[in-house]
Symmetry: C2
Subunit: 210 residues, 2 copies
């Protein structure tokens, strides 16, 4: 497809729209939503929403708005969420375990298919979901067996790059990195960082301004 012309920010917003649409669905109410209303819920400009959607086709009805259920379906399809995705997670500390147990992943079709840790005491331990922790030495092999497509890194920062390199060898096509370091990238593997201390630093900056 003509992927590269679409702003990354648009994709991020599509994801946010889908959350809002899900909420609208569970709340019941009218089966239609206008770009104006959806914009309020998402904190963006109405024209922004229409333009974002325009990249992918025409989804609305003029004079009416967007049919919530259908639009949600279409957006999920655009995002590639009409299939399940297999996740491999490394670093089963507090955060790692919390992520595996977290509801939102499963709900969106993300499934943890293998988990790793370097600590020998943790190997073989079963998580709440029944998933068993494997030694990190076996990462490449187990990832291939379980057909992991996305790697999740929850290790301390000094270990993160090494784990990423192994993921590159599997190979996985994407990495979600929770460690506060900038990973060296690799052709064919897309990296997304989740760094909440960065977000906190942002808050600290704005608070110390005013």
């Amino acid at each position: 497809m003509k992927a590269s012309k679409i702003p990354a920010a648009t994709i991020t917003r599509l994801s946010i729209y889908s959350r809002a649409l899900e909420n609208l669905l569970t709340q019941g109410g009218a089966p239609v939503v206008s770009s104006k209303r959806l914009a309020e819920l998402c904190g963006v400009n109405p024209a922004q929403i229409r333009k974002d959607l325009a990249y992918f086709g025409q989804f609305g009805v003029r004079g009416v708005g967007y049919y919530i259920k259908e639009l949600l379906f279409d957006i999920r399809k655009i995002l590639g969420l009409n299939k399940d995705w297999n996740l491999a997670i490394v670093g089963m500390g507090n955060l790692g375990c919390a992520l595996v147990a977290h509801q939102n992943f499963a709900k969106q079709g993300y499934r943890f298919v293998c988990a790793f840790d370097a600590d020998p005491n943790k190997i073989g331990h079963k998580l709440a979901t029944g998933l068993e922790i494997s030694p990190v030495q076996d990462l490449i092999e187990v990832c291939r067996e379980t057909k992991a497509e996305i790697g999740v890194i929850c290790t301390p920062p000094e270990r993160a790059q090494e784990i990423a390199n192994r993921f590159y060898q599997v190979p996985v096509s994407g990495i979600l990195n929770f460690a506060p370091v900038q990973l060296q990238t690799c052709e064919g593997c897309k990296i997304e960082n989740v760094d909440f201390t960065v977000k906190l630093d942002n808050l600290a900056y704005y608070l110390s301004m005013s």
Copy 2:
């Protein structure tokens, strides 16, 4: 100060620079780093770094580079990290507990001073740090007593807005929101969202493209 003219992206990058500088410090080596080298570590353009810093003054030595220790100190000061920040956290599920236990917060000067949950079974339970879980009904009162400045929301999405509204009444000056909803904002309170399912959706999109 002349806050508003500075791009949000610049602040985010400053935070990333500070991580890289911390790593350089612990690794030892030369006491000086060039914008070129730092740019490699952070995955950005060298000119970008110089321009980001230029918003706040002159920190380098021409022909030499930046003194790591001093630059780190200066950046932390810019970000408002030369003081400790008091955090209040709501929703002590897996994720909430993991955050309280997480090392990186304390290291950067973020301290959890109170914790809340709606589940009566959890009230009074002590966390690993010695922090005791309070009933969410007492949020406003306890936040004031403990001088909480930033609120952290780890509740399910349907509860998040209600918690935010209480935080507004305290008032806190910032909220770090882990729930996958767009919170209604409030004058004087800055909100930062940490939504890793959005990041995952981004990955899913790019992977289903190629």
